[in-house]
């Protein structure tokens, strides 16, 4: 069996967590097939690779040059595909991030390999089987990999980094001659904090009619801020003119799937639930214990939001202070 090549992702010289998640997914395949996991790092010199061995990399292949500090699609695809072609690799794993979603199909096309994107589970016993959500998360494909090499991207926050300690020795590989490209990433702009959109935020705090009036939405804004998230709103309060339509979550507003969704004073009409039900973790704060939102929520607090939310903000600020 060929080895597993895990393509890592770094930003500003720091490995991203999803790299360790991809390593864990790669480890599952390698362990089942008795092969090795090689981690491919493309980036500037000086990225710390120390954690990789600890999290399951048998070997680290580093193409380190200042030209690769930013994601350069042509160069990254060429280096990765060359590595697969010159080595003996069966499976290529990436994180399904903005970079991974761009890079994975390029590598697959260069190799003539099938691509299984946004995988949410992976089993590798006699055969390699992956699952991936389709149709806006309303259905899930279970797929068998019948051709190798195969490129897989794993959805972030699904796989947990593994503690399998491996040698993780670093070996430099060449990045010469591949950087000249006709599409060049020239810079990464910081997003303006003010425009953190409810549809893109990884944490969303939404308020509903329970807030009683627009003057109380500062609670939602403060809770969103201390969590580093974006404020959202139910259709009822948007229709009432308490909040702008851009914040509306729901079937006729924005569909969100953040890692954490906090619903404050929202009873949970189906049209609202349709817009946030794919959130990873849902918290509901509502005075009505029979509110439909509690049927969906992972964690709920029943009670007066005007007492609960200030306390929550205070406690979270304390944690932040530490």
């Amino acid at each position: 069996m060929g080895a597993v090549l895990v393509v890592l992702e770094q930003r500003d010289g720091m490995l991203k967590r999803v790299s360790l998640e991809a390593l864990a997914a790669g480890r599952v395949v390698a362990d089942a097939e008795g092969s090795e996991v090689h981690a491919l790092l493309m980036g500037p010199p000086g990225v710390s690779t120390e954690a990789l061995g600890r999290h399951g990399a048998d070997k680290v292949l580093a193409a380190a040059t200042p030209d690769l500090a930013l994601y350069q699609p042509d160069a990254f695809a060429t280096i990765a595909a060359n590595q697969v072609s010159t080595g003996n690799y069966d499976i290529i794993v990436l994180g399904a991030t903005a970079m991974g979603r761009d890079l994975a199909p390029r590598i697959a096309a260069k190799l003539g390999a099938p691509l299984a994107p946004d995988v949410t589970s992976l089993t590798a016993n006699d055969e390699l089987v992956v699952t991936r959500p389709v149709y806006s998360g309303k259905a899930v494909f279970t797929l068998r990999v019948v051709k190798r090499p195969c490129v897989i991207s794993v959805r972030p926050n699904v796989f947990s980094p593994t503690d399998a300690a491996k040698p993780g020795a670093v070996e430099g590989i060449s990045a010469d001659g591949v950087v000249a490209a006709r599409a060049t990433t020239v810079k990464v702009k910081e997003p303006e904090k003010a425009v953190l959109d409810v549809a893109e935020a990884s944490i969303v705090v939404s308020g509903g009619r329970g807030l009683k009036g627009p003057e109380n939405f500062h609670l939602i804004e403060e809770l969103a801020e201390v969590l580093g998230g974006a404020p959202g709103a139910s259709r009822a309060v948007v229709d009432a003119g308490w909040r702008p339509h851009s914040e509306q979550v729901g079937q006729t507003g924005k569909t969100v799937s953040p890692s954490l969704y906090v619903a404050v004073g929202i009873s949970g009409a189906i049209q609202h639930l349709a817009g946030m039900r794919t959130s990873k973790v849902i918290v509901a704060i509502n005075k009505d214990k029979d509110a439909p939102i509690f049927k969906l929520a992972d964690y709920g607090i029943v009670g007066d939001l005007f007492e609960i939310v200030p306390r929550l903000i205070a406690e979270l600020q304390k944690i932040r202070g530490n």
């Binding site: 509306q248 079937q251 006729t252 009409a269 189906i270």
Partner: protein, 548 residues
């Protein structure tokens, strides 16, 4: 409280425009306004007549036929029970067999029950309600099927384009103006704004369905009376994947309707485990708080329904009004210079048999024949189009309506007396009591009692209005300008009445004041009958029914 006193008038100045059409106008020979059974049957019949005549060498040549539909896709605004009489399908498609038509299954068993809160008492099926030879069907599927046929015959079908006004020249209807798209809440154009377009045609056939705005405006403008004002019922319907098969077409009377309301339920099996359940209630009741949506929710908790629905899943929800006035509410003239009015817009519904689809199609066919003759003679004046009215008046459409002309009207005095009178009418073929039972419009009926019953939906068998609207597929852009005319300052009591009439939660009372949520609207037109006026809005707004 009399709703009519506070009802804004029909905005006729916006619905009838005597300005010349714009330079960018689109020209057609015949334009059907509304892609339902009436408009599509008419378009199909007309294109067939044109084709046959052209092939025989004496045709009018190339005739462009268009159908404007306000829903985003054909069928998405259509809702009916429905048990369908296949007669016009056989007329339209003589080469096809009943099994080729988009019906689900023939009616084999049927039952009528009188409900008390806990019991269901089987009663004999009144003769007009017998459905032997009819089929259970989804009007959405019928309309999509007719649409495919029409397009295959060269008809241009345009979903997503509501007609917002009649273009007229003197007494002649010369076409319509469509509703613009891409306006923000304040009516300002957005980057994807699409202005209104003028469509001119030699004949405009108004097939808008129940409570058509342009049809109302036409009758008012031309001062065309009917013997009685039109009256309406509101139907709220749900589609269910049932826990076990429903094996008969079921109708019920009685509970949970209060004594002063006329109505009943239907429960129709579409497939082994798919059934439609609905409740129809006349809007001429005396209650301020009667809420058809809530009544349907309560009705489903009755053992007769719950045994099938409990543990199943509600997959669609919708609502629509039904013109119930029958024979005496049909306008005396359904044509004018360059215009005819078809189907529900003309009031061709027979309440005793709970049917309208086949009459709508029949009216489309009759209109198509008159239009064809008019086009061939190159004269589309009222004189030529009057052939349409003569044809309908002589057909089974008006004969059926005449025979049962007073049956629905008898129930204005309550269920028991109404039942006795209706029975006598059946026995005597409509001769008893003879004459005409006079009616007032629904809005003119005083709401003298309350009639509220508190109810909390459980989210599995019974649902709130917000959840219901979601299940209607309504994904109307929240930022469109309001299409509803509420008129002045609405006092709390009236606001509460609107809130109970509207099945979709468009109207709410907040702090004693009326709040309007226009995107919720599913175009049922109930409040247009008794309160705030509905006007056409951006194409594709409203519900998106799939199998209603």
């Amino acid at each position: 409280m009399i709703p009519a006193k506070a009802q804004p008038p029909l905005p006729r100045d916006k619905l009838i425009l005597s300005e010349p059409p714009g330079d960018e106008r689109i020209e057609m020979d015949v334009l059907f306004v509304g892609g339902g059974p009436a408009g599509l049957a008419g378009a199909i019949e007309l294109s067939g007549l044109v084709k046959a005549a052209n092939e025989a060498g004496d045709g009018p040549g190339q005739i462009s036929i268009g159908v404007l539909e306000k829903a985003g896709s054909l069928g998405e605004h259509c809702l009916s029970g429905a048990v369908v009489n296949p007669r016009p399908f056989r007329t339209l498609f003589p080469d096809l067999d009943d099994s080729d038509f988009p019906f689900q299954q023939p009616v084999t068993r049927e039952a009528v029950y009188f409900l008390t809160p806990k019991r269901a008492i089987r009663v004999p099926t009144p003769p007009p309600m017998r459905n032997e030879g009819n089929y259970v069907a989804s009007i959405c599927e019928i309309v999509r099927w007719l649409g495919e046929r029409a397009q295959a015959m060269g008809v241009d079908v345009f979903p997503g384009f509501p007609a917002s006004a009649l273009l007229v020249n003197g007494n002649r209807v010369i076409g319509v103006r469509t509703a613009p798209s891409g306006l923000d809440r304040d009516g300002n154009p957005m980057s994807n704004h699409m202005p209104a377009a003028d469509v001119v045609a030699k004949v405009t056939a108004l097939a808008e369905g129940t409570r058509g705005m342009l049809s109302q405006a036409f009758f008012e403008w031309q001062q065309i009376p009917s013997a009685n004002p039109q009256i309406y019922a509101l139907a709220v319907k749900e589609l269910w994947e049932t826990k076990r098969p429903v094996d008969a077409v079921i109708h019920t009377l009685g509970w949970p309707l209060p004594g002063g309301a006329f109505g009943g339920s239907f429960f129709y099996p579409l497939e082994d485990r798919v059934a439609a359940v609905g409740l129809v209630v006349g809007l001429d009741h005396p209650y301020r708080s009667l809420d058809v949506h809530v009544l349907l929710q309560r009705m489903k908790t009755h053992p007769l329904f719950a045994q099938y629905l409990q543990g199943g899943e509600m997959t669609e929800w919708g609502a629509k009004t039904i013109p119930e006035g029958g024979f005496y509410a049909v306008p005396q003239r359904r044509h004018g210079d360059g215009v005819v009015v078809l189907g529900d817009s003309a009031g061709f519904v027979d309440v005793p048999s709970l049917k309208g689809i086949h009459y709508a199609m029949e009216s489309g066919i009759a209109a198509a024949r008159a239009i064809f003759t008019a086009l061939t003679a190159n004269d589309t004046s009222a004189h030529m189009l009057a052939a349409y009215d003569r044809s309908i008046d002589a057909s089974y459409v008006m004969k059926d309506l005449y025979r049962r002309r007073n049956m629905r009207l008898a129930f204005k005095d309550g269920l028991v007396m109404g039942g006795i009178k209706a029975g006598l009418m059946t026995i005597t073929g409509g001769r008893f009591p003879g004459g005409k039972i006079s009616m007032v419009s629904d809005a003119a009926v005083a709401r003298s009692s309350d009639g509220a019953v508190p109810f909390t939906p459980d989210g599995t068998l019974t649902f709130s209005k917000v959840d219901a609207v979601f299940k209607s597929g309504n994904a109307t852009r929240d930022t469109i300008p309001s299409h509803l005319i509420t008129g002045g300052d609405v006092p709390g009591e009236l606001a509460a009445y609107y809130a109970s009439v509207c099945p979709a939660g468009v109207y709410e009372v907040v702090d004693g004041k009326l709040r309007v949520n226009p995107p919720n609207c599913v175009d049922c037109k109930a409040t247009d009958v008794v309160g705030p006026r509905w006007t056409p809005r951006e194409g594709g707004s409203g519900p998106a029914y799939k199998r209603m």
